[in-house]
């Protein structure tokens, strides 16, 4: 590993309207090293990468690549200088072939200057075979699974003869065997002298394959360490900072109650839906907070959506208050008393240009109107109550919801569903992308609701969030329930062990670098 510097980013500053995303960040990458970039959601990792690759432009600071100062204005420019990127949202062109998705922009040409398809297909196939993937490259890429999509993205990035490959969450859709393939690829690149920036939440992966780690927090540079000098606990402490451990203590543990003796409100019997939910069965009791744990892709959200009427089940029975039901639309579920707060605020939650007041009252607008005319007075009564009770920070209820911070938006959405006085409340990733303070507030609200007798289904990728806020946890993997944890059984270790034990490929199970401490990192 040469000690020569390939990339040096110094004092990078980036501001968005109203937010300071990066406040003078540093990053140094040596030639031939695998460098991890870590931090919580909102720390600035994605922003930094997008500045490096030319999607954004930095407001201040310098970037020196291989001795030359650069400032890319478009992704194509960074590509031309030898940086190739796998972005977090796997982005391919669905109807184009695998070959084209790998080779677009540099398809091999014939003597006449036209595309040589035969050669292109051969090249693409060879690249994939090198990675251990054997598929028909002529097919459009959307006939294949998400995992294959990710592999194709990886194939494109690594086949570009780059000096630096940036991988932003490259393993989110991969199973253990496929992750192994990626690691093989990474080791090969390293041998060839290529540098890699590796962003991931999966600590085990970081510790397996990376040489050094840089930590960002709240847009600031915290530090860089060689991996041997940084045990996991210290890494996590750097990532969350002391203030967060204090805040973590704010989120008091919920008084766990055993509600399994209570009436069953919602019962799933062998529910099957789409290609994500294979066979899910569990019960939700009255007044219970049931946590749904699992990795990305395990089918939790899709299961919840069956209960909420978004996608009716293809098989199995859903029972609500003991009667078999089939909700064919969200409206039907809402009318029955089931409310779901979805995980994707931006695309499925907020009506961006409408006010806080309108967003809160939209789900049961009829309650606030007479003969079709909306009564501002009736709205205000309820809305103002929620603003106070939830602690929504806003000068008034007329503010457009898109102007609020993530945490406040989430509170508005929660208010919307609570305004329905639902029987069952489903929360899908209720604190995603929300800062520490707001997170604690929302947890307090959830616990308060549970105490008042509401039955809650809580989905979260953060095991700690589940443990602190639920009475019981059901674990999903690959669209099936693989286990249940009650009371003291609910620990991060147990959840991870359960998931790992049910892994399809035994060779990867059990190798997690864990020094036994409870951590609050996103366990996925």
């Amino acid at each position: 590993m040469a000690d020569e510097l390939l990339l040096e980013m110094n004092n990078i500053v980036k501001n968005f309207p109203g937010v300071k995303a990066l406040k003078g960040v540093r990053l140094q990458i040596r030639k031939g090293e695998v460098h991890a970039l870590m931090g919580e959601n909102g720390a600035g990792k994605s922003t930094l990468i997008k500045i490096l690759t030319g999607v954004y432009h930095h407001d201040d600071g310098t970037i020196v690549l291989d001795g030359e100062e650069v400032a890319f204005k478009a992704p194509v420019e960074s590509q031309m200088k030898g940086i190739s990127t796998i972005y977090q949202e796997v982005s391919l062109i669905p109807y184009l072939s695998v070959t084209e998705n790998i080779l677009i922009g540099r398809e091999p040409k014939t003597a006449l200057g036209t595309i040589n398809w035969k050669k292109a297909h051969e090249e693409a196939r060879a690249i994939l075979l090198d990675m251990g993937i054997d598929i028909d490259v002529r097919q459009p890429v959307n006939v294949y699974s998400t995992a294959i999509h990710q592999m194709v993205s990886i194939a494109r990035a690594v086949s570009m003869q780059a000096k630096l490959v940036v991988m932003d969450e490259p393993t989110s859709s991969l199973d253990d065997h496929e992750v192994e393939v990626l690691f093989r690829v990474i080791r090969k690149l390293k041998n060839d002298g290529v540098s890699i920036i590796f962003v991931s939440h999966r600590l085990d992966e970081i510790y397996t394959v990376c040489d050094r780690i840089t930590v960002l927090r709240d847009g600031e540079y915290v530090g860089t360490w060689p991996i041997q000098e940084l045990p996991q606990t210290r890494l996590i402490a750097h990532m969350i900072g002391k203030s967060e451990t204090e805040a973590a203590q704010l989120t008091r543990m919920k008084e766990t109650e055993d509600k399994t003796g209570e009436k069953v409100v919602v019962k799933l019997e062998s529910i099957r839906q789409g290609n994500r939910v294979t066979d899910v069965s569990f019960e939700l009791h009255r007044g219970e907070v049931l946590g749904l744990a699992g990795l990305l892709g395990s089918g939790r959200t899709e299961t919840a959506k069956v209960v909420a009427g978004v996608h009716p089940a293809d098989g199995g029975t859903l029972r609500y208050e003991d009667k078999p039901v089939r909700f064919r639309s969200p409206r039907q579920a809402i009318r029955a008393g089931i409310a779901m707060c979805t995980e994707n605020r931006k695309t499925e939650g907020i009506i961006p240009n409408m006010s806080i007041r309108e967003n809160i009252t939209l789900a049961n607008l009829r309650q606030f109107s007479r003969f079709g005319f909306v009564s501002r007075r009736k709205q205000n009564r309820v809305v103002n109550e929620f603003i106070e009770r939830m602690g929504i920070k806003t000068p008034n209820a007329d503010q457009k919801i898109k102007n609020l911070s993530g945490g406040n938006q989430q509170k508005v959405l929660l208010s919307r569903w609570l305004a329905l006085h639902p029987n069952v409340l489903i929360l899908d990733e209720p604190t995603r992308g929300i800062d520490v303070g707001a997170k604690a507030e929302i947890h307090a609200i959830i616990q308060e609701l549970a105490k008042s007798g509401l039955s809650i289904l809580l989905i979260s990728s953060e095991f700690d969030e589940l443990i602190h806020n639920s009475d019981r946890i059901v674990v999903l993997r690959d669209g099936r329930v693989i286990g249940e944890l009650k009371g003291d059984e609910r620990t991060q270790d147990n959840i991870m062990k359960m998931i790992a034990e049910h892994s399809r490929h035994k060779e990867w199970g059990g190798e997690m670098a864990n020094d036994g401490h409870e951590t609050s990192s996103a366990g996925v």
Binding site: P17, G18, V19, K20, A21, G42, D218, A308, V310, S329, P330, R331, I334, R335, M340, T342, T347, E348, G349, I350, I351, P352, N353, M354, E358, L362, A363, N364, L365, R366, S369, G372, F373, V374, K393, T394, P395, N403, L404, S405, G406, G407, N408, R416, G433, D435, G437, A438
Partner: protein, 321 residues
Amino acid sequence: MTDMKLHLQASDRRALAAGELAKRFALPMVIIALVVLNAAVTNNFLSTNTMWNILLHVSTTTLVAIGMTLVIATGGIDLSVGAVMALSAVFCTFLLDYPVVVILAGTMLFCALFGLLNGVVISYIGVQPIIATLALMIAGRGIAQVITDGYLVTFTHPAFEALGKGKLWSIPAPVIVMFLVAALVYIAVRFMTFGRYVEAVGDNEQASNLVGINVKKIKVAVYVLSAVFASLAGMIETARLAAADATRIGELIEMDAIAAVVVGGTLMSGGRPRIWGTVLGAILMGLITATFNMNNIPYSYSLVIKAVIIVAAIYFQRENK
């Protein structure tokens, strides 16, 4: 990200507010400016006669544009309005033996069916609005022409003709209808649940579905309304001419209507329907035509100005968003 979004600098906030103000009053100000210009330059401009005339000429376009506003607010488009006007013109001539109320109601009901067809094909079958309404545009006018065999159908029916030619205290009837409809729709949009649903669907269709709004029904409703208003516009034209002209009536009106909606501030991607904005947009376009007309500048030049205004309007809306 932390709670920083609202912590704007005071200067940022002031700039934002000024931008919002400019956006809201830009259109009326341009109209006033144009009126002032005309008062100075054009003969006989400031007479009430002229004013009503201009409003009369834009009344049918405005009516159609109001319906178009609702459709565009949900993220769709309706190219069939001209054809519906033709169908309406032709159909109402069959009802001339009946009282005016029946003529109006019957024709609007008939045209509502076409709106229903549009709505169902777009909402339930999933065809793109531009294509579905294009198909009706082509076929609809054809049907109207088949029925009349291309001939002008003239008639006499004083009560019905009053719809197009009548005046109330020197205000032409079509102008009254235009403002009445605009007011009613504005009330519906601003104060009724219907308006909230239309805006929500246009702003974020997925979220609206999850909130329990019957997105499909709302979409069907706006296409029905668009057809009904186009039908009314068609009857007004027909009444005014005392003739049903299946070939010419409503020619190119969809483009004028879309232009009025766009200039009026409703976004093509969907969102809040700006009814009065549309009305002002249509009036602006009418003013431009009148300005050119009354100063003997060829109609063709006005088209160029209109094109520029459309692009400018969108550009400025985008800036201030």
